[in-house]
Amino acid sequence: MKQQRFRFKILALLLFSLFILLSLYGLYSINTYGNRWFAYARNPRIREQKQSVIAGDIYDRSGVVLASTVDGVRTYQPSEEARRAIVHLLGDDEGQVSNGVEGFQTAYLYGFRASLAERINSLFSGEPRRGDNVTLTIDSKLCTAITRYFSSRSLSRGKNGAAVVMNYKTGELIAMVSLSSFDPMDTSSVTAESEVYWNRATQSLYPPGSTFKIITTIAALDNIENIASRQIICTGSLEVQGQAIRDFGNAVHNSLTLKNAFVRSCNNAYAMLALTMKDAALRRTAESFGFNDNFLFRDLVVENSAYPTGTQNEFQVAMSGFGQSSIGVTPLHMCLVGSAIANDGIMMEPALLRQVTSVGGSIRMQFEPRVYRQATTAANAAILQDYMKAVVSSGTGTRARTAGLTICGKTGSAESSRNNRAVTHGWFVGYCANDELPFAVAIIVEDIADGEGGGSTAAPIAGDIFTYLRDNRDLVTQ
């Protein structure tokens, strides 16, 4: 009997621990995913609230009205070009674009965060309740300018793609553009399943191609002794498991230092680096840059990037060294990678909300920079800063050069297949090293012409963006 009593106690403790687990899990999941679950476009409560609450306005960082409610109708900017440039970031009234500001910030815009006093007040005043006004970190003029940069050059004109501009010291997103686009005030010509609704900057996973060499280089610095001072031999073709790995334009680089291999973007050298340090080491570094992490940023929903977690064969490992195999990354995440190098190894959390104010004028939320993770050491970041500077001054990225600024970057040409056809995407990931303009960019131009690369397609757009930032310094850094 006595022993039985003791065992009853154990059973009771077992049940208690189950309930503690339940409570902790409940609190944790609401704390972590609550806003994502709530803001899900199909939440019927939001539709209901839209009947009774007037949505708040959305402004960009300089006060331009991006969205407002006029006589019960949601209206966007007067210029169609401007509307198209920002629609993916902003979202639309009908929720076609998933997780735009209009959808993801429903809690603010439709007054779900209003205090009890405010609710009661509006109940008695008889006036319809208004949601909170949201000010974004975005410069809408730059977004519009970026769409023009895409169409102003023959190699990127009419192409799909994406561009992300971010302040690497604070994490504020200054621009985010996805092409092709649509007009939120006239969707009659767009079919329901159309890919124009897709936000390529946050939802599309692309192979990073040679831009991934940033990460492979960091991994090599960490895992291969004295790699920065050793010579790597490139014969132009490397045989791995019976398949040949060749360089862009079948180049033969002979003997190279790590820096030269980076600046000239030598695939053979990077395949060898990956094979030397093994898959696990490369994956570890990729994961320290946020690959395979569940991104739970407060202001935006970003597709998780993937570095293969299963066992890869030798050929796949070699391909991973220069960002092929089955690595997938969003342009926004690639912008974070560039930002981490620029910011001495510290990756800031990307942010979209600058301020939220209630109709009464009280501040509901104010932006504060937050660190997302320490991606690498300051020493490693410094080496990469040097390499990336050389890419733009004398390597594959010279077309990103901007007068008066020190631009650093890395180009890439990523191959993927679409509808059983091999396509090449041009990448540029880079930043401005000048202290007064701490901005990083990531640009992808989809399906570029044969023989072209990131250096000829994406880098010029980066140059245009940096020129804009230089000429509008006050606007973007205020």
Binding site: Q4, R5, L15, F16, L18, L22, G26, I30, F38, R42
Partner: protein
């Protein structure tokens, strides 16, 4: 003794809370039924707290906790669908009477030795019935109609299971309870009522551990259960689907993931403090009246209140375990613990499913979910517990009397 003094203040709080809550809902739509419930539900609470202790020693705290949960169910049902609330209130009344009967049964029939064999036969017979004349809902064939009311036999058999296995385990007779438990489990599998099967299995296993203390065989039973679960996963397509939905409900919004997504959206919409009684959109949650009633509670009253509801169950488990530990015979101890484990596991399984901690299995939330058989059987389990508690109290009084007698 201090803990029992908590019963009366808690009971007063329960009375006040439900009177004002039902009055609030009455003021919304001025239905006379609302007014009737505003008086009837707190009255039932007051009545149990005042009458039962006069009949036999009672655990007032346990009574108040049970009343709180039952009334919470009626309240939420009245807000979402009044017709459900009326029948639930009726079953609450019936359940309280059944509870009193159970208490008397435990007090009067002390050993149950003569009763267990017929109980086993009746139980197995009851479990076969849905397979012959049953109706299928949500993939399981676990209930049937009789005289216009639906009956879920597995809820009634629950009581028999606890009594039967406690009796045989206390008598150290291994085979009879094993055959009975396996028989019940087999029939539940045939009904495809996997949630209830899980409860029966868990309760039997834990009671076996408590009675024998053999970690070896308990571990073996656990491994066997895990093996059966794996087998079930690979054999039955609907089990595989349930697990897939649990892992990622968002991938199939319109079909498989619909229920759990709406549950999560409701809980997230309520936030920590809830949208308020009578507000929100609880009726958009599928099966809001049974499986997902906890999501409704969380949306209206908030997650913190939801955690407090969990705390109520924890308190019931605590009272149950205390009763079991104070029991004078092994049989009564096992029976009290069996009721406690059954209620505790059932609550964990359904709320874990609603919060997406574990895959969803369609069991009811004890006392709260809509369903006559479920409510009555949960109250009967409390009846068995109260019966054992009253016997303990009697024995304690007898001890003191004897001690005084000897010292004189």
């Amino acid at each position: 003794m201090q803990t029992k003094d908590l019963g009366r203040p808690l009971s007063r709080a329960v009375t006040f809370f439900y009177f004002s809550a039902f009055m609030l809902l009455f003021l919304r739509d001025f239905r006379w039924q609302g007014l009737a419930l505003a008086f009837a539900v707190p009255m039932l609470n007051v009545a149990t707290i005042h009458i039962l202790p006069k009949l036999f020693p009672s655990d007032k705290l346990l009574l108040s906790l049970t009343n709180f949960l039952c009334a919470l169910g009626i309240l939420v049902l009245y807000d979402t669908n009044p017709t459900y609330a009326y029948s639930q209130a009726l079953y609450y009344f019936v359940g309280l009477i059944a509870m009193v009967i159970c208490i008397y049964v435990v007090r009067l029939i002390r050993s149950f030795r003569m009763l267990v064999w017929p109980m086993m036969a009746v139980s197995l017979g009851l479990l076969v019935l849905p397979l012959l004349i049953g109706q299928e809902t949500y993939g399981a064939t676990n209930w049937f109609y009789i005289g216009g009311i639906s009956v879920q036999p597995s809820e009634i058999v629950k009581l028999c299971l606890v009594i039967v296995i406690s009796r045989f385990m206390a008598d150290r007779r291994f085979l009879p309870w094993l055959v009975f438990a396996v028989g019940c489990l087999g029939l539940l599998m045939l009904q495809k009522d996997l949630g209830t099967a899980l409860l029966y299995y868990g309760t039997t296993l834990l009671l076996y551990y408590a009675s024998s203390g053999s970690l070896w065989i308990t571990g073996l039973g656990l491994a066997g259960g895990a093996g059966a679960a794996m087998l079930g996963y690979h054999m039955f397509a609907h089990v595989k689907r349930r697990v897939a939905i649990w892992q990622n409900p968002w991938s199939d919004y319109d079909n498989a993931g619909y229920q759990i997504i709406h549950s999560l959206m409701a809980i997230a919409s309520g936030g920590l403090f809830g949208v308020g009684l009578g507000l929100g959109s609880p009726r958009t949650i599928p099966v809001y009246h049974t499986d997902f009633i906890f999501a409704v509670i969380c949306e209206q009253f908030g997650l913190i209140f939801g955690m407090c509801v969990l705390l109520m169950y924890v308190a019931i488990i605590w009272r149950g375990a205390t009763t079991a530990m104070a029991a004078r015979t092994s049989f009564h101890g096992l029976m009290a613990m069996g009721c406690t484990v059954m209620l505790g596991l059932q609550t964990f399984v359904i709320i874990g499913g609603v919060l997406k901690l574990i895959p969803l299995t369609g069991v009811t939330m004890p006392f709260v979910s809509y369903g006559g058989t479920s409510l009555v059987s949960s109250l009967c389990l409390i009846g068995l517990l109260q019966g054992v508690a009253s016997l303990n109290e009697d024995d304690l009084l007898e001890d003191t009397r004897l001690a005084n007698y000897i010292s004189e």
